[in-house]
């Protein structure tokens, strides 16, 4: 039995599509920035992305934003297909983790992810000086040929637990904040432990607006979305 059930709530009503979470994620997790050319070839690489959908015909157009990142499925399709256990379910954190050193790059997990949140390193990332100085030492640097994906900032979870252990106390709600949650200016992202009865996420759920992405596929995601109302970019 896992101690925690890390859960994210995304309030689509509050999301403005500002992409701050995307930038924060790149900085925190050493996510390589794909060149313009690569993006044109459909190789954009973001652990967290804002999906933008247009509704209606011009001029009566509405934009809808949906932040999508690894849903940390309880019944993850990416796990059973990996022939080498590079994609597996960690018992301690109750998350889907990707072991970069074990990954051989069959890319089966990427095909099997209905959310397409797994990214393959098609090239070895390059950083022009002095950008290599800003890499986060807590996160390993991935070479070409391995899959990677959002980890819910597992390095922050572990650090928070170690700090709590050192202080001889239990982890409290708010001790852990992934980079995206930390920077979200409108507070659309809420992160916490669903097994903790006092946490914010537990108090926010169940919510009449809640849904899970592609819930019908039986993947049991750990991310809850709260349905958005009218997000109008006209006028």
């Amino acid at each position: 039995m896992a101690e925690h059930k890390w859960t994210m709530i995304v309030d689509l009503d509050k999301c403005t599509g500002c992409n701050a979470c995307v930038v924060a994620c790149h900085a925190e997790n050493n996510v390589p920035v794909a060149s313009e050319d690569e993006v044109k070839r459909g190789r954009g690489l973001h652990w967290m992305r804002i999906e933008r959908y247009w509704e209606g015909e011009y001029p009566d157009v509405k934009a809808r934003f949906m932040p999508v990142f690894c849903q940390q499925c309880g019944n993850a399709p990416c796990e059973p297909v990996c022939p080498v256990y590079a994609s597996y379910h960690s018992e301690q954190e109750n998350l889907n983790v990707q072991v970069y050193n074990r990954c051989i790059g069959t890319r089966y997990c990427g095909n099997n992810c209905p959310y397409r949140v797994r990214y393959f390193n098609y090239r070895t990332p390059e950083y022009d000086a002095p950008l290599e100085q800003q890499l986060n030492p807590d996160v390993s640097y991935r070479s070409a040929g391995v899959m990677e994906k959002c980890t819910f900032c597992i390095q922050r979870i572990r650090r928070a637990r170690e700090t709590a252990n050192a202080d001889n106390r239990e982890l409290q709600d708010g001790d852990v904040q992934p980079a995206c949650v930390q920077v979200c200016p409108s507070g659309a992202l809420v992160f916490g432990d669903k097994y903790d009865h006092e946490s914010r996420v537990t108090n926010m759920l169940p919510n009449e607006r809640q849904f899970k992405l592609l819930e019908h596929m039986g993947t049991e995601p750990a991310v809850y979305y709260l349905k958005g109302g009218e997000t109008d970019v006209g006028d």
Binding site: E38, C82, P83, N111, P114
Partner: protein, 485 residues
């Protein structure tokens, strides 16, 4: 006066009458059927050995040309290892592309050879005898070429040993739940089984080659023939082993392409997640595999002058089988799409609009090659026995079946559950060079192999000819098969 039993001769053992018409019929049967057209074994041997030892200029041109393309294949692979999979056109949604389609295609080509040989042996259909080895070698090299593609496909080739069940200090094993692992297991089993099946039947011919060569060749064939002397005991063992292996290899054959199809069917990807994929892939594999065997037979007959062994009856029989496979393929293909269409799920509608949209040229060319061409022509015996026509039809089928795999792998992956991730795929030069290079590699190995081993199982042909005799029943001439025991 009553005749004694000893004097009574049954009518079918009475000599054929000196009737001119009947003699014509017998002559016709002899020309039609290899089994009735026996040559002395020494002449058979000489014919096959002469073809095996003869290297014309055309042969060397072919070897050099194919070798050059294979070299380009190797160079591309090295470049890919150096710079990563990034040099291909794959993108964040289409993570599997032509490499996996090639894997399916080459396993498919390799599918038919051993199956034809083993299934026809099981059913005691003697027309298989001369074509058995040519077909088995297609299997052997088809599978060997297919076996390269997992290595070409992975991102970190130098770590691929993680996939093999090697005992290690950390107790880390491959994931036995992964379809990829079982696919690799089935292909390896089939490759080993097919090699054994081919090699067992090759022994008497290797011994024959040993007895008719000298010097280094003789030493090599002597080693390979493993001391075959041709005693009755050895022939009996050969028969038993070949029979056992042909029964064993057929279920393995089914497991191979079912395993390949499960890589797709077990995934959540729309267009892949289909229960019909197992039998559908097997039929598709036999379809393209039989067509590949026919292409090889035509080339062998033309280039090695094997008209005595590969006759119209063989092309006719293979053509009928090809047509049956075409019908079965059509049935499975449309069953799948009709179920999709009836289900009317949004994702599957997106796939259907893709087939008639972005993929329309490929889709219609595939339908034309796989349905219109074979079903429109193969019903006619004149087409089935005409070599140029058969060559064109079989090449169309190769194109059609290749496109089918490309559409399933790279085409369907470009549409998935969230429309934000719809990215189309266009191949770049490495995929093209690797695909063409793999075909050249297969052809090169086959070409070289025809000069190393007797491509016709001479002993099987002779054995069949010894068992068959023309007999007369009333006014008709039949070929009668005598069992050995």
């Amino acid at each position: 006066m009553l005749e004694t039993n000893a004097e009574r001769v049954p009518f079918w053992e009475q000599p054929l009458p000196e009737d001119e018409k009947l003699a014509e019929q017998v002559e016709h049967e002899r020309q039609e059927h290899l089994m009735l057209d026996a040559l002395p074994p020494s002449e058979n041997n000489a014919l096959v050995l002469a073809r095996m030892q003869q290297t014309t200029r055309l042969f060397w041109v072919l070897v050099l040309g194919l070798g050059g393309i294979t070299l380009a294949f190797v160079v591309t692979w090295v470049i890919q290892m150096q710079y990563g999979i990034g040099i291909t056109g794959l993108n964040r949604s289409v993570m599997w592309g032509p490499y996996i389609a090639n894997l399916v295609y080459f396993v498919g080509i390799g599918h038919a050879g051993t199956f034809i040989s083993a299934a026809l042996r099981m059913m005691k259909l003697d027309f298989r005898r001369p074509i058995a080895r040519a077909a088995e070698i297609v299997t052997l090299f088809g599978l060997a070429t297919a076996g390269l593609f997992p290595f070409l496909h992975v991102g970190r080739l130098w770590k691929i040993f993680y996939m093999f069940p090697i005992p290690n200090q950390r107790g880390l094993w491959p994931n036995f739940r992964s379809a990829l692992f079982w696919d690799a297991t089935a292909i390896t089993t089939y490759l080993i089984g097919s090699t054994m099946f081919m090699f067992i039947a090759l022994l008497p011919d290797l011994a024959m080659a040993r007895d008719h060569t000298s010097g280094l060749h003789r030493r090599i064939y002597r080693t390979l023939a493993m001391g075959w002397r041709g005693t009755e005991h050895e022939w009996h063992n050969l028969e038993v082993i070949a029979n056992i292996l042909s029964f064993v290899i057929i279920p393995v054959m089914f497991s191979v392409h079912t395993g390949v199809s499960w890589n797709f069917a077990m995934a959540l990807q729309p267009g892949w997640h289909s229960t019909i994929f197992g039998p559908f892939f097997i039929v598709g594999a036999l379809f393209s595999g039989v067509a590949a065997v026919i292409i090889v037979m035509i080339i062998l007959r033309k280039m090695m002058g094997l008209g005595y062994f590969f006759r119209e009856e063989h092309f006719n029989a293979m053509g009928i089988f090809l047509m049956l496979m075409s019908m079965a393929w059509v049935y499975f293909y449309f069953t799948e799409w009709i179920v999709n269409w009836y289900g009317n799920l949004p994702m599957e509608k997106a796939l259907q609009s893709m087939l008639t949209g972005d993929l329309a040229p490929l889709f219609y060319l595939m339908l034309f090659s796989n349905i219109v061409v074979p079903l429109g022509t193969l019903w006619s015996r004149r087409v089935r026995t005409s070599l140029p026509a058969m060559l064109v039809i079989c090449i169309f089928i190769q194109i059609g079946m290749y496109l089918e795999r490309i559409i399933i792998v790279a085409g369907f992956l470009s549409r998935n559950e969230l429309p934000f991730n719809w990215v189309n795929y266009t191949p770049r030069w490495p995929e093209v060079v690797i695909t063409v290079g793999a075909l050249a590699f297969l052809a090169l190995m086959y070409t070289v192999f025809t000069r190393l081993v007797p491509i016709i199982p001479v002993w099987e042909v002779y054995e069949g000819q010894a068992m068959h005799t023309p007999r007369r029943f009333g006014r008709a001439i039949f070929s009668v098969r005598t069992e050995q025991h």
